[in-house]
Amino acid sequence: MDIFINNVKMTLRNLFKHKTYSLINIAGLAVGFSVFILILLYVEREYSYDNYHQNGDSLYRVAVNFESQSSQNGYAFNVPPLAPALKQNFPQVKYAARVLNFGNNVLIKYENKKFYESQLLYTDPDIFNVLTIPFIYGTPDNALQRPQTIVISETMRQKYFDNINPVGKTINMDGRDFEVTGVVDDYPDNTHLQYNMFTSIHAFDHMPWMNDWTWPGAYTYVSLNPNVNIYDLEQHINTLAAERTKGDPRARDMSYTHFLQPVKDIHLHSQLNYEASYGGNRRQLFIFTAIGILVLIIVAMNFVNLSTARGTIRAKEVGVRKVVGASRRQLLVQLLGEALSTAICALLCAITLVWLVLPYYNFFISGHFTFMDVLKPALIFPIILVSFTTGLLAGSYPALALSGYKPVSVLRGQIKSGPGGIKIRRVLVVGQFFITIVLIVGTIIILRQLSYMKGKYPGFTREQKLVIPVQGLRPLEHNYQTVKSEFLKQPGINGVTVSSGVPGEGVGSASAWLAGNAKDKKQMMYYLFYDSDFMTNYQIKLVAGRDFYKDNVWDREHSCIINESAARAFGFNSPQEAIGQKVNESFFKSKVEIVGVTTDYNYRGMRFNVDPLIIQMKPSFFSHITVDLSTENVSFVLGSIKKKWAELFPEKPFEYYFLDDSFNHLYNKEEQMARIIGTFAFFALFAVCLGLLGMTLFLTGQRTKEIGIRKILGSSKTAITGLLTTEIIKLIIIANVLAWPVAWYVMQKWLQNFANRMDLNIWPFLLSGLTVLAVTLLTVSWQVIRTARANPVEALRYE
């Protein structure tokens, strides 16, 4: 105990006596720890998705694989009649509930409040028995039992009802009255199924698709009884589904495989069509975790470097302690204790730092983390564990080395920097530079790839295009011609076109096959619907045939345009061959004639390949208006469009965006990743430089005598500066040589994700190498120059 107090005193005095050293050491570790904490926050959140449900281990979503001879598609949706059938036929299934989300906005009115709302879920009442959705008002058992009832989220309640209990009140949704029967907590950040309102799915009971075993349209969640064999249950479900689809013409040549996904795993492990929300990216998580660990390694290396470099000074004290009777064990306890104290100080600084930067971090990664998240047990314990371990591991090498010296050699001054010391320090410094360079190269290449994608011509023009999405069911089917002509009358508008989607969003998919061909030539196709002005306005080029004729009724029913990929997929040798051929399309189950073939423009964004596309002119699908603005006075034109909108659609609020922005938003994930990797690369470089600064301060201090002698012998300042910096330049060059191939390999792999990718050249590598070199030299130069200019007599006086 007394030794402990003595050690603590000693540690504190050392801390304050060598302020620069302590500051550098603690700051370095603190930076590493903060990076680690921030990354851990993110990673933990991703892994915590849907972990909060009660009986979480027995919750599954039933998804389905549709397989035809030529294609295979996994759907997060399942067929609507499945859930009731499951509950009826399988005792293993305790509850089963469907969730339908049409993805459209609904107009909610209460008294004088009126807003568009999203995330309306049509569900079975059992959903509240499957997923954990706590009720604030009302009870799950009674909610949604009667028709025309609705359960709303707490946010909705506050928006419409202020502070009253709304149960029993009536709100109006798209013109129909609904009784509020419950208020539930808002959905947490870490769920894949976001909701605002629930209403009963039985509203659709009369619809034929509610009994269609071939149309996947509803998420199906089940809660199983204990000890159910999942594999067996899947087999039984598939047998049942096969029975129900037998003889159904729509199911011909298709096979359906149903499978269960644990609800917990959906966020990170499921990437099916029509997922309820953007899934997590496990590879990105892996990269972040790797970066977190790398930065920790860097700061641990700093710690080792500084401690061993300073070991010569500590060695004397350790020697004296040995002489007065300290055993190696007692010394180890003292030295490791000091390392641990440094780690604790660093951890406290790191937590403060995290508290300071958390708002910016949230902004950066579009997260909603609070400081309390850092302090919850699932995080703070690993954080403490990792930082203590880092401190102890990093402290153990210098501690073992120091306590192992023979006291006599120390006291005689025979240890200059420890025999293994210099070599190990070099290896560690190279390691640090290596990691930093790889991170910087990664950042540069990600950024370049993004700007490459943004800059590459996608096959259509996207400038000055104002997009107005129109909400509702078949919103433009009957009035799109009026809308177009009214808008065209406004000044500053060059063109107006309507479509089912704009580039980057809104494509559907279904199969199609050439008429007269055997059905085994069925192709999966992307579908788009637009009018005869779309290709002109977007300047999409035709390589064969013609555009749709304007407002032509025949074209609406009997014509289609395909892209070059589709022509190839159908087996035509040239686009011209395709013209006049007939295609069976499965969207409307009709036979249409190919009248034109377009270039392979990037209708899904530059990340993707251009897959076969079939375009039809079906007004029932039109839901986006694209307005071509002339460049001058955009705000004035916007004003007049808005006014016109209010006349044409008095019920609907005016929403718009510019295509340029939305098309670039397709790369949000990549941009976020570049920002994060870049930030952490910066932190890594900062930590490395901090460590180098400490080392330089110390080592030049140690070489004062040598430098003094050299100067007396006539060495110039330049020569001495060179002497002090060649070593570090050598190490940086070695690190570059090692890092480049690794970075090249990793980034080459990453680029494989993109259909349109830049060519890797030497520049990002050179740039990173030079950046590291420049920053490092800047860091050490001040101290080096100061040493080189020092008066040699001063240096030698005390010898």
Binding site: N6, K17, K322, K406, V408
Partner: protein, 222 residues
Amino acid sequence: MIRLKDIEKYYSNKFVKTWVLRNIDLEVKEGDFVTIMGPSGAGKSTLLHIIGMLDDMSGGEYYFLDEPVHQLPEKKRTGFHQQYIGFVFQAYHLIDELTVYENLETPLLYKKVKTSERKSLVAETLDRFNIVAKKDLFPNQLSGGQQQLVAVARALIVNPKLILADEPTGNLNSKQGMEIMDMLKELNNEGTTIIQVTHDEKKAAYGNRIINLLDGYIDNEE
């Protein structure tokens, strides 16, 4: 108390063996005050370090209180330090970060002496060396002589049977040097065995035996 038989010490450097000590036979009895003299590089300090178990020998046998030191593991040797041996160096070697009081306390802490006993031992020693007023000062606030006084006090606090002093007065002026030597003499009179290394004939005269080392051999004994 100490028996050295044919002790040798050399450093090998690739192909060359550099001899530091050869054929050292020496016996020191309890209560002796031995002075080791000799020119620079004769091996005086090395011999002292080997006797103090701070350094290994390359060959020969060393018995300390009839225990064969050359066969002992490190742990046992640490035990000997704690129990029997105190060191005094030319460069004092106090711990800069600790006060006088704490410097004196350190050997007792490592020896796991109980708090109450430790406190009284430190107080007693401070008193005996007349440095009570200095107990809260740090080494760099003391003169060289005072620092060496603390160093001697620290060596003595564990009540060692043997004090090894490596040029204890080398960094001191003559008055301070004499004071330290008087102190050592007094300790010797009280029964502590002392082995000192020095260049100085006058300081050597404090001892009852003088061993002259030359090029690693014992040249003669007076």
